[in-house]
Symmetry: C2
């Protein structure tokens, strides 16, 4: 294993220390780990978090127009409830806290505990799941779909709404709307190596790729032989476009009942005539140039299907360490979502004028 | 070789086509290859270029506040004079053209021819070299030092000056000033694979790293055994800080003589008490998180030496395809350079508010 690290036990701490030095506009708390804005705003506090190793997500999206706080766990490991609780307390400013939670068993459980702790202090809290990965319904790490690339778009859009002064319920509704209108699928050319493990998470042969990979290297739909970028893009896009009406039962916090309630939520279909934000993401080790080759074919397929890409995001935003590969996310948008997507943002990992 | 490509012969064209679809605010010309702003400004036209494979540089830096045009060659291959000439003609608007040229034999020769072609049409032209790599004085690709990470900072700063209305001579003087105040050094953990070659440019063992690597995989100072990020950062930074008064003779176009003139240029020293912009760059395949570990140590070393990092840039901006590794660039700054560094920019690869 060759990585730019010192002791594997200190990887996350030292990266956070570097981030603190580079970004004095952020507060980086080491015990417990969380990153938040140095100055809190008079607004709904939007907080996310998850395992490290996906940078710039989430810590790199803390700042004006996006997150108020982020809780990094160890690499590919959920953060703990006390991180989420302390982070929420640090940024909460009377308008309540919105947790944005990727659907992994550990993250869900710990954010639920954190929400209860925050609510117990009389602070208004909402918690919205992201489960956009059309690859698999249940997996090693999840009941239901995994939360992947759509998280980035959700953090941008909901962060902008909070910045614009929307209240907690409006922000939560918007986050839910993003989730029900977005879908993702990824693939890997190579594995990645978690520092503490010291060896690749999985092995792929010289001519093998993994379709439907998760952001922790979880297996997906199939292990296939190497294909052209056009073929790979077609497989990913076709599967995303074919996905209709996914239904899941999720738990959301009910502030009146002061308890969790179950909700059945159904995805909005994506059809000819729709407008989308298209996000082509590098898993970490794939060059930007190759993502443009993916985008070229993606645009062709969407156009042929009558779907118009009205905005795009291309680059490494939700990564799996140095894994080579890409993911595609399509988010159906209306005027409201576009307005918040286009709003300015100033974070280490995402700037919009 | 596993890459997100179709035919190796079409790699650059298809990536440019993707870029054209993703960025309608740019004009992407296919024959010959160049990328420029769709709408030219009433200002000095700043044009750069070089081999592909270093994305987002240079094409990703075309836009408001940075470049007016960029000429991508084939992967790791200089663009041709006709690309540079056509690009310059497309963006020139009566205020002259400034070429920013990385010091590689092919690039220098071709940009010289292009400058002569442009000048022959009565268009004011200047051409400034970047040669910031302290690793080696002469190499496979260069007479003198190679042009590496400083190019990104130069394109930002000079682009901002042109946007602010500075004339051609002022922009050229500023570019020269950036070059004489900046130094870089890089290292590699792994090689990269040029698509047309189909195999890694060089081989590094499981415990080997290359100190002083060039952005095309050129060998550098030494092949060393794997070290901690603190040790690697110390080696790079110490060598950068120890570099004093580098002197070279370069050729610049003289508009009065209508010919090339030789100039002896001497670097400004970097000393205790100075302020710098610190740029920690990924060679492509190294995760952002590891760059923060580099930055942590870099900040510590600079602080101990009495050098204050007043701005930073951390991420993959001048890459070598999927190579793992990093480079460090330190640019000594004054009020003038900082003002232009802080100015807004809107390009696919760099946004500043």
């Amino acid at each position: 294993m060759k990585k730019l690290i010192n002791d594997v036990d200190n990887v996350v701490v030292e990266q956070l220390q570097g981030m603190a030095l580079a970004h004095p506009e952020l507060k980086v708390n080491i015990d417990p780990h969380y990153i938040c804005r140095a100055v809190t705003g008079d607004k709904v506090a939007v907080v996310s978090g998850g395992g490290s190793g996906h940078e710039p997500m989430h810590g790199g999206f803390v700042g004006y127009g996006m997150l108020d706080g982020a809780c990094p766990g160890e690499v590919f490991t959920s953060p703990t409830p006390d991180q989420m609780y302390e982070c929420a307390k640090a940024v909460e400013n009377g308008k309540g806290v919105l947790f944005l939670v990727k659907n992994y068993t550990g993250d869900v459980m710990n954010f639920e505990t954190a929400a209860e702790l925050v609510a117990a202090e009389g602070i208004a809290v909402q918690s919205i799941l992201v489960d956009d990965d059309v690859a698999v319904k249940d997996s090693l790490y999840t009941a239901g779909r995994r939360g992947v690339g759509l998280t980035v778009l959700m953090e941008k859009i909901v962060g902008a709404a909070a910045e614009a002064g929307c209240d907690l319920d409006t922000c939560a509704d918007l986050a839910r709307k993003v989730n029900l209108n977005g879908r993702s699928l990824g693939m890997a050319l190579t594995s990645c190596t978690v520092p503490a493990a010291g060896k690749p998470t999985f092995e792929l042969g010289e001519q093998e790729i993994e379709i439907g990979i998760g952001i922790h290297g979880e297996p997906g739909i199939e292990r296939a032989t190497m294909k052209s970028v056009d073929e790979i893009t077609e497989i990913l896009t076709t599967r995303i476009l074919a996905d209709k009406g996914y239904t899941r039962t999720i738990r959301e916090w009910d502030r009146v009942a002061n308890d969790w309630v179950e909700k059945e939520l159904v995805d909005e279909d994506l059809n000819s005539g729709d407008q989308v934000i298209a996000f082509v993401n590098s898993m970490g080790g794939t060059p930007l140039s190759e993502l443009y080759a993916v985008y070229r074919k993606l645009d062709e397929i969407c156009t042929a299907k009558g779907i118009t890409i009205v905005r795009n995001l291309i680059g490494p935003y939700i990564t799996s360490l140095e894994m080579q590969g890409c993911s595609i996310t399509l988010l159906k948008v209306d005027e409201e979502l576009l307005k918040y997507w286009d709003a300015p943002a100033q974070t280490p990992g995402f700037v919009a004028r």
